[in-house]
C-alpha cells in the first residue's frame, strides 16, 4: 500500500441508533442541544412572560426547595415502590402469558383479542374502576402501571416466540432434544432480543402509567405532588416534578438496556440496530 485515503466518518446513521446519545461517539451534539434548549427556555420565558411557563432557573430553585423540605424525596420513594411493583408484575405475567400464547395456538386464540384490544386502549380509562375496587392507596396505581406496561410485553413476547428461526428448532429436534430442552436451550435464548425490546418499551410505558395513575388518584407519589401544585397554580413545582419524572424514566430504561446488553451481547450490531427501529 503506497497511499492511504482517510475514510470519512459517515454523517448519516440509521435512525434509532443509541437513543440516549453517544455510545463511543462525541457527546458534543447532545450537550449543545440541551444547552441551547435551556437558554431558549430561560430567555424566552423571561422575554415573552408566558403564563404557566416560569424560566428554567425558577424551576430549578423550586426543585431545590422541594428536595430540601423532603417532599420530593418521600414522593419519589413512594413512586418508585409503585413502579417497581407494577413493572415487576408486568414483567413476570407479561413474559409468562406471552410465552404461553407463543407456544400454544389455543392459548393465543383465547387471549389475543383481549391482549391486542387492551394494548391499544388508553390505560387511564381503567383508573376509576381500580379506584372503586381498591380505594385510595398504592394498589390502584400499581394496577394502572400494569395496564400501561403489560400488553406491550405480551405482544412482543408472542412475536419473539413466533420469529424463532425454524432451522434452529429443526436442528434441536434432529439432535433429539426434548420439548423442555428445545424451549430452554433454543426457543427462549433465540426469543430474548425481541422480548427485551418489549420490556424496554414496557418500562417507558410503566413510568407514564405511574405518573398518570398518581395524578388521577392524587394521594401519593410524584403525580400527587403535580396535582397539588396545579391547584396552587405553582407551575415551577409542576415542571420540577416533571424533571424528576424524566430522570426516573431515563434511569429505569437505562437499567433495562444494561440488562438487555448482558443478555443479548451475542447479537451482531446490525441486528441490534434493526431491532431498535422495529
Amino acid at each position: 500500500m503506497s497511499t492511504t485515503t482517510a475514510v470519512k466518518p459517515r454523517r448519516f446513521h440509521p435512525p434509532g441508533l443509541a437513543p440516549l446519545g453517544r455510545i463511543g461517539g462525541s457527546i458534543a451534539p447532545t450537550v449543545l442541544s440541551l444547552g441551547a434548549g435551556a437558554i431558549l427556555w430561560e430567555v424566552g420565558a423571561r422575554i415573552w412572560n408566558v403564563r404557566f411557563l416560569p424560566p428554567l432557573s425558577d424551576v430549578l430553585v423550586r426543585l431545590a426547595e422541594l428536595t430540601a423540605d423532603g417532599l420530593i424525596v418521600v414522593s419519589l420513594r413512594n413512586s418508585l415502590i409503585n413502579l417497581a411493583l407494577g413493572f415487576g408484575i408486568s414483567l413476570v405475567f407479561g413474559i409468562g402469558i406471552g410465552l404461553l400464547m407463543g407456544a400454544y395456538r389455543k392459548v393465543e386464540m383465547a387471549l389475543d383479542w383481549w391482549v391486542y384490544g387492551l394494548d391499544t386502549a388508553p390505560g387511564l380509562v381503567f383508573a376509576p374502576i381500580f379506584f372503586a375496587i381498591f380505594g385510595l392507596g398504592p394498589e390502584p396505581i400499581i394496577a394502572i402501571i400494569v395496564m400501561y406496561a403489560i400488553f406491550t410485553i405480551i405482544v412482543n413476547t408472542v412475536a419473539a416466540i413466533r420469529t424463532v428461526p425454524a432451522p434452529l428448532i429443526e436442528m434441536g429436534r434432529s439432535y433429539c432434544a426434548s420439548d423442555r430442552q428445545l424451549f430452554f436451550r433454543i426457543i427462549l435464548p433465540a426469543a430474548t432480543p425481541l422480548i427485551m425490546a418489549g420490556v424496554r418499551i414496557g418500562m417507558g410505558k410503566a413510568v407514564k402509567g405511574m405518573v398518570n395513575g398518581e395524578m388521577f388518584i392524587a394521594a401519593v407519589g410524584l403525580g400527587a405532588v403535580i396535582i397539588n401544585a396545579g391547584r396552587r397554580f405553582d407551575s415551577a413545582a409542576i415542571l420540577a416534578v416533571l424533571f424528576v419524572t424524566i430522570i426516573v424514566a431515563t434511569v429505569s430504561v437505562k437499567i433495562v438496556q444494561l440488562v438487555d446488553a448482558r443478555l443479548t451481547g451475542w447479537l451482531p450490531a446490525t441486528q441490534r440496530r434493526r431491532r431498535a427501529n422495529g
Binding site: 434452529l168 429443526e170 434432529s174 439432535y175 426434548s178 436451550r185 451475542w266
Partner: protein, 268 residues
Amino acid sequence: MIEIKDLSKTFPARGKDAPVEAIHDLNLTIRDGEFLTVLGPSGCGKTTLLRIIAGLEPWDHGSISIDDKDLRGPGPDRAMVFQSFALLPWATILQNVAFGLDVRGVSKKRREERARELIDMVGLKGFENRLPGQLSGGMQQRVGLARALAVDPEILLMDEPFGALDEQTRRLLQEELLVIWEQSRKTVLFITHSMEEAVLLGDRIVLMSPRPGRIVDIVDVPLVRPRASAVDSIEGSAEFASITSDLWQRLREMQTFRRHHHQDEPAA
C-alpha cells in the same frame, strides 16, 4: 442399512397453490458405509427425502427402516448438517459443537473434551470461544460438521451443506470432507444440485427428477478411493468429465421436458 419402500409424500394444498407431490413411489436402499449423493434440480424432492429420513417430516405412504427397525422420528443413529448451518448464535463454537452431546446428558467435562477433538479435526483450533457470527461461512459449516460428528452417528445426513458457500471455500470443504469420511467411513446421504460435487464425493449418485419427485437412475461412480489426496487429478480426468457430462445431459432433458410440458405454469 436404510431401506425405503414405495415412499410417497404430498404436501397439502396451501391457499391457491395446488397440492405438491414431492416424492412419488420411491424405492432406495442405502448401504452401510457408502457415500450416497442425491442429485437433481430444485423441486425434485431431494431435500424432502433427507428430512423424512432425518425424522423431521412425516410421509404418506410406504415404509422406511434403518437396520430393520421402522423409522420413528429423529434418532441418535443419525446426525444432520444443514445448508443454513443452523448454529446457535448466542453459544460459543465449543458449546455449539457439544450441543448434541449436551441434550443427550453427557457430562460437561466429557462433552467438551469430545467437542475439542472435533474442533481440532475440522481445523478450528483456537476458535473454541468465538461466537458463530464472528466466523466466515466456511468456518461456520465446519462447526456444523463437527457438531454432527461429535455425537458419533452411524449415518450423516447432509442437506446441500456447501450450497451457501463460495466456490473456493466449497472446494476446500469438499476435500476436507473426503479426508474425514475416508477415515471414518460412515454412511453418508449427501444432497446436492452440483454435478461435480455429486461425482467427486459419491460412491453412487441417485438422480432425481421433479414433479413428482422420483428416482430416474442410480449411477455408480467408478472413481477409486481414497480421493482426498487426488482431487485435482480426478477432476481433470476423462472419466470425471464423461460422468458429469452424462449427468448434465440428463438433467438438461428434465428441464427441457418441463419447459415443453408445463408452459401454463408460472416461472419458479
